[in-house]
């Protein structure tokens, strides 16, 4: 160890040289200006922008979620409306069908009644006709029959006409 170095006292370390002061201040000011003007504002801006973007992203996501929920609710409403409508349509159809059936039935019944009535009327008129023709024939037959039974008895005209008158009177009484 050289003696010259031994002689340097520790106190000397704390006695600043002028050039040390100069260069310390120069360096400090340069660094401080660089930090204040360039470095920190830039990083701060980047931090802020990032934060803003993250917040914007979160807001956007929230909005998307809200929209999705709205859509879902609308869809569900529509679905339930559609369900109600469908059941209404079903009910209508069912009631219409029963109407149609009832109509058809009543129409069929009335038609049937009409057919029955017509038939009845036809039967009655035929009966009448039969009766009329029967009446004519019965007169002739009865005369002939009576003639055959009585034979001789009716050979005189007076008896014959009296009997015929008597018979006609009886028939008229029967008829009334």
């Amino acid at each position: 160890m050289p003696l010259a170095e031994e002689e340097v006292s520790g106190i000397a370390l704390f006695i600043p040289e002028i050039y040390d002061i100069v260069w310390s201040l120069v360096v400090l000011i340069v660094i401080a200006v660089a930090f204040y003007v360039v470095i920190m504002p830039k990083f701060q801006a980047v931090f802020d922008e990032r934060a803003a973007r993250i917040e914007g992203g979160i807001a956007k996501a929230e909005q998307a979620q809200r929209e999705a929920e709205d859509t879902k609710r609308k869809y569900e409403e529509q679905l339930s409306q559609a369900r109600v409508e469908a059941s209404k349509i079903r009910d209508d159809a069912r009631s219409e069908a029963s109407h149609i059936i009832a109509d058809a039935r009543s129409r069929a019944e009335s038609e049937a009644e009409q057919i029955t009535a017509n038939a009845q009327r036809a039967i009655e008129s035929q009966q009448q006709q039969a009766m009329v023709s029967l009446k004519g024939e019965i007169g002739t037959l009865a005369t002939a029959l009576a003639g055959k039974i009585l034979g001789a008895k009716l050979q005189d005209n007076a008896t014959q006409s009296a009997m015929i008158d008597q018979m006609i009177a009886d028939l008229d009484d029967d008829k009334q």
Binding site: M1, L13, I15, I31, K42, V46
Partner: protein, 269 residues
């Protein structure tokens, strides 16, 4: 220069070239005798400044919202300073305006300290008393300014020197101590803590490597070489330790600066 070559000669012949206080008072190598003289420490300081600013300005220029790996690393450090040092102590509202200042101090002290273990530099750029003192004076100005702005000069002095809730006889002792603290102790302790740490760190590491050189390279004999290897291990350990100290001292300086400034503000929020 004669004494230096003598020293080399002596070291080679009679013992290791141990570091000494004179390492921190290196000869001027440029502009000798002028106020702009440059010695080894100042050269290291200038180089460190240029490198740090170049790297950081380029990083800032290229900074994107989605960071790359390097930008993320730088941002991690800046975030750490802002959130864990400044906002932790004074909160975001009060702290926001001090972010550039404390960041400047932390980053500069940290990088300057690291120069102590960077090969070729081998001495911290903060290892001359004026650099730590400059930072300390900056802090000093800031906490006085904050105090005067918040309370007015009289109010600030009353707050600091005659704190409320203390029985009056105590003021006889308390007031001078407080005044001393406010005017001298704070800046001096900041300065000396950093400076002495850097001096001690350099002496420690350089001593280890001086013995390594002496025993491992310049001496003969197996046992001595083993001793030299142990000194080398010690040198490596202390180099790592100095990295830690570089960060720790930057942290301590920054957090004390923040605390001092914060104390100038009224306590009740």
């Amino acid at each position: 220069m004669g004494s230096v070559s003598d020293a080399m000669l002596l070291a080679a012949e009679s013992g290791p070239h141990l570091p000494s206080v004179s390492d921190f008072l290196p000869p001027e190598i440029l502009f000798e005798g002028t106020p702009f003289a440059i010695n080894r420490i100042i050269l290291v300081r200038l180089v460190a400044t240029v490198i740090m600013l170049t790297v950081l300005i380029i990083t800032a220029r290229r900074a994107k919202v989605i960071p790359g790996r390097w930008q993320a690393a730088v941002e991690w450090l800046l975030d750490y300073i802002r959130d864990n040092i400044i906002y932790q102590v004074m909160g975001p509202i009060r702290g926001r305006r001090y972010v550039p200042m404390i960041t400047t101090i932390f980053m500069t002290v940290f990088i300057f300290n690291l120069c102590g273990i960077i090969p070729g530099m081998n001495i911290a750029a903060t290892a001359s008393v004026v650099m730590p003192l400059a930072f300390a004076l900056w802090v000093f100005v800031q906490y006085w300014r904050a105090g005067i702005k918040e309370h007015g000069l009289g109010g600030f002095l009353k707050e600091e020197l005659l704190p409320a809730g203390v029985p009056w006889p105590i003021y006889i002792i308390l007031t001078p101590v407080q005044l001393l603290e406010l005017v001298l102790i704070r800046p001096i302790s900041l300065t000396v803590r950093l400076f002495a740490n850097m001096v001690a760190g350099h002496l420690l590491v350089a001593t280890c490597y001086a013995f390594t050189q002496f025993y491992l390279i310049e001496s003969a004999g197996a046992a001595v070489k083993v001793g030299g290897a142990l000194w080398l291990c010690g040198g490596l350990v202390f180099t790592c330790f100095e990295m830690f100290v570089a960060a720790l001292q930057a942290y301590v300086f920054a957090i004390l600066a923040t605390v001092y400034i914060n104390q100038s503000y009224p306590e009740a929020e």
